[in-house]
């Protein structure tokens, strides 16, 4: 599903975000990407959906060679992925339902399909009671769940989550991780960047640890050290 081979990312000005990272993630895996702030977690995720371009190395995601992928093909790659950011990116003037259906409109679904699929996604993330609320009326956890539902609109093979529990209290964080595990069990590969040790230690999943842009460890059923 993901293959990184000697990947480095150096920003303009010489700041090194990632240095010679190599790893593989198989289909159906749930992987935690851990490390302190500035360790390169977000940069690594952004390389996977070509928000950033690697300075060196090869990246293969869902069977696409991201390194050589031309700009006009990036939307094709992103349609195979789901992306959830730390700050919930919801449109303030639209309800939860509209925010999710917006993704389906963009993806070109028929109007009849949009309503049905949006309802299914809302049910999956358990937001039935908040479907007609605007983002400002939602809790942090609900906003994150709405973003997850939107990210699932394209039936992605891979879900990339960049600290989705970063702004949430432990209870809400657990709810989000439980939801992600449910999605993972349905077959979607998940890579989740986090620095929440309690979640990582309890869930016993594969853990990739980054430190100052280098991959320090790769442990199946790992712990946050």
């Amino acid at each position: 599903m993901i293959k990184l081979d000697n990947v480095s990312l150096v920003f303009q000005g010489g700041s090194v975000a990632l240095s010679n990272v190599s790893t593989k993630i198989k289909e159906g895996e749930f992987v935690y990407l851990i490390g302190h702030s500035g360790s390169g977690k977000s940069s690594l995720l952004k390389l996977l959906y070509k928000e950033y371009v690697a300075t060196k190395g090869d990246i293969d995601v869902v069977g696409m060679d991201v390194t050589t992928l031309p700009k006009w093909k990036v939307p094709i790659l992103r349609r195979k992925l789901g992306i959830v950011t730390q700050e919930p990116q919801l449109l303030e003037d639209r309800t939860t339902f509209e925010n999710i259906s917006f993704a389906l409109e963009v993806l070109g679904y028929e109007e009849s399909e949009i309503e049905q699929k949006t309802s299914t996604l809302i049910e999956l993330v358990e937001l039935e009671e908040s479907m007609y609320k605007f983002p400002s009326q939602l809790s942090g956890g609900e906003q994150t769940r709405a973003c997850i539902a939107r990210a699932l609109a394209s039936n992605p093979l891979l879900l990339l989550c960049d600290e989705p529990t970063g702004n949430l209290d432990p209870t809400l964080s657990t709810q989000i991780v439980t939801l992600l595990e449910k999605i993972n069990r349905a077959g979607t590969t998940i890579v989740m960047a986090t620095h929440d040790s309690s979640i990582v230690n309890r869930r016993k999943k594969r853990v990739l640890q980054l430190h100052q842009g280098k991959l320090m460890s790769d442990v199946p059923q790992g712990r946050y050290i």
Partner: protein, 277 residues
């Protein structure tokens, strides 16, 4: 447009002024070209003959003129023909016609040149000839008119280009502001996997729509001005405001097509930065 109504109105006005200038400038040039070519194909030099000299001398003068390579045609205009022309020109002024003694009207030779700018050469050759009473040439007037027209066309075209550029900048600015206001929506679309074309479409639509409104009003005004001018005092006296419908239709189509390209290009430039961020 809903987000920046004032800027949208400014854009429409700039496009309107620019398109109107282009429309009227090109129409005016076509009208002037029609008139000058009519004049250029007509009589360039009129040589009034002295009645005291014999008709043989008049005949000789005509033959001399016809022998010049610069001359295309020489036409003899008798007293009676001059009288007919006078009556036709002043047909509405019976009092004047009653007062005129048509016998005093001179006979003349009307010279048509291959190149109207050679009129000075003919004047020089005819000056001092005993059979010649007076010489009048239209070449100088045509040259002056053409020079004035060219200056006006150049000035109007330069102004139209400058206004057009201002319209271009305004459209880009409007789109940038709109794109800035919608940056979150654009970012979400990019993350989901929307193509650049999909993201661009509403912006292209806005730019083309604003440009089309401005150009349509300008074309309407341009047609009205031409229709009004056709019935004006100038058209009924010295200037023939005649322009073919096919020319105007082609000009209209040209302006609409240019506007579509203009709007498309402006939108392309306007949101390039937002798409690349």
């Amino acid at each position: 447009m809903r987000r920046n109504p004032l800027l949208a109105i400014a854009t429409i006005l700039a496009v309107l002024v620019s398109s109107f200038l282009v429309f009227t400038t090109l129409s005016a040039r076509a009208i002037v070209e029609n008139n000058t070519s009519r004049w250029q194909n007509g009589v360039h030099v009129v040589i009034f003959l002295d009645d005291r000299v014999t008709s043989t001398a008049h005949k000789q003068l005509q033959e001399t003129l016809e022998s010049y390579s610069e001359v295309r045609m020489v036409e003899y205009f008798s007293k009676s023909e001059a009288a007919e022309e006078f009556k036709e020109l002043f047909s509405g002024q019976q009092e004047l016609l009653d007062e005129v003694d048509f016998e005093t009207l001179p006979t003349s030779l009307r010279v048509n040149l291959n190149n109207p700018s050679d009129y000075q050469l003919i004047i020089e050759r005819m000056e001092g000839n005993a059979a010649v009473r007076e010489i009048r040439a239209s070449g100088e007037a045509i040259e002056r008119l053409l020079s004035l027209t060219n200056t006006l066309v150049f000035s109007a075209t330069t102004f139209a280009v400058l206004i057009g550029f201002a319209a271009f900048i305004l459209i880009i600015n409007t789109l940038r502001l709109t794109a800035f206001a919608r940056r979150k929506e654009i970012k979400i679309m990019k993350t989901i996997g929307a193509s650049s074309t999909y993201i661009r479409l509403p912006f292209i639509f806005e730019a083309v729509f604003e440009s089309l409104i401005g150009t349509s009003i300008a074309i309407g005004l341009g047609w009205s001005v031409i229709q009004y001018s056709k019935n004006s005092v100038i058209a009924q006296s010295i200037f023939d405001i005649s322009i073919s419908d096919s020319y105007l239709i082609n000009l209209t189509l040209f302006l609409i097509l240019s506007t579509l390209l203009f709007g498309f290009f402006a939108s392309f430039v306007g949101i390039r930065k937002v798409l690349n961020d």
